[in-house]
Amino acid sequence: MRSTLTLAKALNTGLRTAMAADDKVVVMGEDVGRLGGVFRITEGLLADFGEARVIDTPLAESAIIGTAIGMAMRGFRPVCEIQFDGFVYPAFDQIVTQLAKIHYRTRGRVRVPVTVRIPFGGGIGAVEHHSESPEAYFCHTAGLKVVACSSPTDAHTMIQQAVAADDPVIFFEPKRRYWEKGDVETDEPLAGAIPLHTSRVVRTGDDATLVAYGPMVRTCLDAATAMADEGRELEVIDLRTLSPLDLTPVLASVRRTGRCVVVHEAPSNVSLSAEIAARVSEAAFYSLEAPVLRVTGYDTPYPPARLEEHYLPDVDRVLDAVDRSFQY
């Protein structure tokens, strides 16, 4: 059935489907039960699945992940909500030291299929610690898989795929896009969906390649629309998977366009864009007409809300980078 859903509702619907499909799926986090989550992603799940499977937890992020690991060792499939990006750090040790390494440590004997949902990114006028983009920390750690959805359609399938995956998945949700709407096939079987760890072209073009994920996909699509008015066609690629990276569509595109601009909200220093620039340079060196350019947040802490429009990449900054790319 095709419905027009917000990204938030698409996640909610996907989670509900995942819980109905497998009674070992449990949802846990702060305010996920009675309230339905501060962004209402888990709304109605408590009523439908009960307290044993939708667990309002004490306010302790390390314990949310740590006990989820224990439940996974017992055969459960926990989906943890970290309320905001900037609150994940108390759980960082459990994620990096335990969740990522248990399968390797036990030579494959113990699986920990935990999904960690993290609303991330800025643009909602929030107070400190509510607007961060910590994805690179997790991509740096072997044993974790990291994804970011950008649209209601993807959100609906990707959350189900993440929950069904046997590896731990850090699932980034673009919180400022929670209320954007899109068409979702709510009863489409997962089997037919494109695999979770696949990047894809979301707008075709031959003049330059824009690479983005999460909230910046919309920004890049808007930039491409603006550029089309000037007669240049930008190809936009939604990475979707941040670790492992799937650069196949990126390389195919760059070999055609010769120009590549990578866009994310996270700071640039030792970031995903640095990794992508390095890999594109290694794999498509002779196709490049210009160096891979980057449009990112600045190497500062996330600023107060009244400054965030200066911090966050926007259409102008993306187009400026594209212009610079064309100048080579």
Binding site: A52, G70, A72, P90, D93, T97, H103, R107, H197
Partner: protein, 425 residues
Amino acid sequence: MSVPDTKPVPDPESVPGSDRPNNILPPVPPVPRDPDDARDGDPGLVRLLTPDGKRLPDRTYDPYLSDLTDADLYGLLRDMVIARRLDEEATALQRQGELGLWASLRGQEAAQVGSARALRDDDMVFPSYREHAAAWCRGVDPLDVLSLFRGVTHGGWDADKHGFQCYAIVVGSQALHATGYAMGVSRDHAWSTAGTSTSTSTSNGQGRGRGRGMSATLVYFGDGASSQGDVNEALNWAGVFEAPVVFFCQNNQWAISEPARRQSRAPIYQRASGFGIRGVQVDGNDVLATLAVTRWALDSARRGCPTLIEAVTYRMGAHTTADDPSRYRHAEELTQWGQRDPVQRMTAYLRDRGLLDDAAAAALDAEADTLAATVRKRCLRLPDPSPHSLFDHVYVDEPETLRAARDAYLEIEPSPATLEPRKAN
């Protein structure tokens, strides 16, 4: 000319703020906790055997030992003697360069054997990294423990088969895993009794052995780990969710060089009341007391009442073979604790009861020697893992990028057949 320092040098053992006139902190209990004088200040410490092996009657805990046969009592001593002998062998292997490191359990045999022998087969243990005697009791091959310290593997045994998870090196991290596991057990139990679960787990209900009710989870950690946030979060969660878990803290008085007093102003077991669960302090060098107290706590856990047990014991050796305790503790302390040796205590008790004579003691030592020699031989024969296994098991569903990295590595790495064989021992 040096300027005299007008500030008094602070005593590192003094209580912060105690020099302030309005200090309202309650009096500090004796530090470190000394089982010999515990009855004076705190009637809570459970002891069933005196250091010279005399049995103390205890109305609360005696019923938890009433089913023990003479063979069971001998078995407890046998576990401890073997654990100590294997520990000595492992230390020797490390000194000879055959293990990279060894964390000796010497002195903690009673705490581990008593608690581990209280478990049912269907219970699950989350150990720290010094629980070699507990591993022995759970049927883990000693060679698998050695393989960890030899650098052959990060985790050497099948956790489900033994009801004994892999060692946790980051102290305290496993307390949360144990609590989460226990929450899973209680869910399985509720669903199986309600008949609504599709669970395929085989250990979700009435287990074998003593005690009724659901499987329990037991987590080992130390006085050092008791300071970690994860341990305190776990205690809190266990209380909130009424998880079937027993927290077994071996307070061995030292976290490398830091005395227990540096970890906590109050005795560790007293924290339990703040989390709404029960706390018990037990003489950790008394195998009968740790067995009885742990059985009691496990029975409570099976009904959804978690317990924090603080076993007061002593790390007689170094923290690990890389440590030199003479830098931070006095020899007299070791002598003092040597008089409370857990193995000697049980030996004296069994001799008193006529369950052990010189011949039987010698036979037990010989059995332990033989086992140690066998384990040594097998340890020396442990093959290094294949270099080709470097990339294995990072993921269940291996990404193409990792496959490509392995392929690139294999192009520069000679095949195992052409590698120089490891020097024969």
